[in-house]
């Protein structure tokens, strides 16, 4: 799974402290998805929810890459990245529940996440628009001579949008400080991505735009961190990269997806490749993390997420009057 066209460092320089931070974020992210799915199943959450279970290692790896002021242009299955960027569980939950506390003030919802404070621009619900939009964010940084990197994440299916191809080319020809991350979780909605591409790795497409492409095991936060550190360092020098993180979506495209398109044998083996318990084991073994401490983090994560969901469940949604405001600047700005 760790094959790559362009070689990335195989070994990450990860300290025990890094490992602890990464594991803790993976735990929080997983607990968040579990409890959001339960809230949806219990009818406490209207709308929809797209689980990022299986994507946790990406958020963990980004923890080791983001500098203050960097920009994130996420997609709809990006809660690990949003937490890695510094958004709190409460901020993320507020947007999923569309309360008035959310970045959108209740005008967005799960697929429209933004945070001015944390430079998170996930406004779009149209897959692939964000890839091209991220090049503009990066262009602005570059033109002002700022060192910030823009991280843009998207799914495997979105790598078939025209915007992917146009945007990678623009990033390459204009030397933009951007890192593209394709979260290849094997499924594009209710279909298999292998039926929709004719290259082994989506990362192979990077060669067509003159930028490095890395296909790496997206369940391994340390390998991902090593690759992303390379990509971030290049981006800070104006060289964009495409990183394909190969992972497996553990749940449906959305909650309630009966997943009849999935092979039951594949589903039965999901736990063998689950990135969260496997990194939990590794972090304890390799870095000597205290198992009791890890259990305490797990308990704390459960409490934090439960409190955020309980809070969001009681918070007001947008008022009828505010539902049609903030369309233009001069009419209303809040």
């Amino acid at each position: 799974m760790s094959s790559s066209k362009t070689k990335a460092p195989a070994v990450a320089e990860v300290t025990a402290d890094d490992a602890a931070r990464m594991l803790r974020l993976m735990i929080t992210t997983r607990v968040l998805e579990e409890q959001l799915a339960q809230a949806y199943a219990d009818g406490k959450l209207t709308g929809w929810i797209h689980s990022s279970e299986g994507h946790e290692a990406l958020g963990a790896a980004l923890l080791l890459c983001f500098e203050p002021g960097d920009h994130l242009v996420p997609h709809y299955r990006s809660r690990p990245e949003q937490l890695a960027k510094g958004m709190s569980v409460r901020e993320v939950v507020a947007e999923v529940f569309a309360t008035v506390d959310a970045g959108s003030r209740g005008r967005g919802g799960e697929t429209h996440v933004s945070s001015v404070e944390h430079n998170v621009y996930g406004m779009t619900g149209v897959l692939g628009a964000n890839i091209a939009l991220s090049t503009g964010v990066a262009l602005a940084s570059k033109l002002r001579g700022e060192p910030q990197v823009t991280l843009c994440s998207f799914g495997d299916g979105t790598a078939n949008r025209g915007t992917f191809h146009e945007a990678l080319n623009l990033a390459a020809i204009w030397d933009l400080p951007v890192v593209f991350v394709c979260e290849n979780n094997y499924f594009t909605e209710l279909s298999r991505i292998v039926d929709f591409i004719r290259v082994e790795n989506i990362a192979d497409r990077a060669a067509g735009y003159g930028m490095p492409g890395y296909a790496v095991d997206g369940h391994d936060p340390e390998l991902l961190a090593a690759t992303l550190r390379t990509a971030f360092a290049a981006a800070r020098e104006g060289r964009p990269s495409l990183v394909e993180a190969k992972m497996i979506r553990r749940r449906g495209h959305w909650e309630g997806d009966p997943q009849q398109y999935r092979d039951p044998e594949e589903v039965a083996t999901l736990d063998d490749s689950d990135p969260v318990p496997s990194y939990r084991r590794l972090a304890i073994e390799r870095y000597g993390l205290d198992a009791a401490q890890v259990e305490a983090w797990e308990a704390a994560a459960r409490d934090e997420v439960a409190a955020a969901i309980a809070w969001a469940s009681e918070r007001p949604r947008i008022s009828r009057e505010d539902a049609t405001r903030a369309v233009y600047a001069e009419v209303d700005n809040g």
Partner: protein
């Protein structure tokens, strides 16, 4: 440039000057588009800008309209004021997601916290006789989208003053130029004039009927008004200039006084901006109207190449005849 602006200004230079002045005033203004740099634009609208501002302010872009429009959104989100040139309005089809879903809705979806101060300039209308994919007027695709502004000037002074306003505006503006009018000359505006968006102009005052016209049809309507005057009919010609938001007050005030209205545009009639204008007049001036509101519009047809193009669009003679029938009927 200074030599040329003394006594008259053509639309081409009005566009260039607006860019130049705003780029001098505000370092966050950048121009992106195909051939806008060293080539100075296929319509010659960006002359001198590349030499003056260099490749970091004037970006020659590949043929990637959808990504470029989204890129402009992203640059605007991150503090720039991009101007994107889409060479022919027909190609605006490639940017609709970026404009209608991203640019228009970002402020709303960020709870009012993230604005998108960008301008997409494009060239609409027939007149070059180059067929179905290089002469459409598609403004009404966008006057339906909350979050956008749509500007469509018809003379050099308005073009300059409104483009400067569009560049300074905090929200995304689709700025529609008329390629058949690029060579039109007119009096230059006062230095540094910035016209307000959302304000119509009374291009000619009159008392017997109101002609509301956009783009190239403003000039045709003014010529029609001259013919009508020879026959003793006094026509008022209103140019909305901004189509979204539409200055309904100026239109309603005029029609309430004249009692007759003809609405003229180059785009096809069904669901065109004329339908909106006629509806506003009907809603607000019903008891002042002496006759039904008449729409004159481009044919509901793709545009053929060559001289056949001319058959599809209203002209001064047709506007005058329609107006005469309406007033005398």
């Amino acid at each position: 440039m200074a030599e040329r602006e003394r006594t008259e200004l053509n639309t081409r230079w009005a566009i260039t000057q607006a860019h130049q002045e705003e780029m001098e005033r505000d370092p966050s203004v950048i121009l992106i588009g195909q051939d806008v740099g060293a080539g100075e634009g296929v319509f010659g609208l960006t002359r001198g800008l590349f030499d003056q501002f260099g490749p970091t302010r004037v970006l020659d872009a590949p043929i990637s309209e959808e990504a470029l429009a989204n890129m402009a959104v992203g640059a605007a989100i991150n503090g720039m004021r991009p101007i994107l040139e889409i060479m022919f309005m027909d190609f605006i089809a490639l940017t609709v997601d970026a404009l209608a879903n991203q640019a228009a809705k970002t402020r709303y979806l960020s709870g009012g916290s993230i604005g998108v101060p960008m301008v997409v300039r494009t060239l609409a209308g027939a007149g070059f006789r180059i067929g179905a994919h290089h002469g459409q007027s598609l403004e009404s695709w966008f006057t339906h989208i909350p979050g956008l502004k749509v500007v469509h000037p018809s003379n050099p002074a308005d073009t300059k003053g409104l483009l400067k306003a569009a560049i300074r505006d905090p929200d995304p503006v689709l700025f529609i130029e008329t390629k058949a009018l690029l060579g039109e000359k007119g009096p230059p505006p006062p230095p540094d004039e910035v016209l307000p968006l959302g304000k119509a102009s009374v291009a000619r005052a009159g008392t017997d009927l109101t002609i509301v016209a956009t783009g190239r049809m403003v000039g045709e309507s003014l010529r029609a008004a001259e013919r009508l005057a020879e026959g003793g009919i006094s026509a008022e010609v209103i140019d909305p200039r901004t189509l979204l938001p539409l200055d309904t007050e100026t239109i309603v005030t005029s029609v309430a006084r004249t009692g007759c209205a003809v609405v003229v545009h180059e785009a096809p009639r069904p669901s065109g901006i004329g339908a909106e204008i006629a509806a506003v007049i009907n809603e607000r001036c019903l008891y002042e109207l002496d006759a039904p509101v008449i729409r004159l519009a481009g044919a509901f047809s793709p545009i053929p190449p060559g001289p056949a193009e001319d058959w599809l669009f209203p002209d001064a003679a047709q506007i005058a005849a329609t107006a005469r029938d309406l007033v005398e009927g």
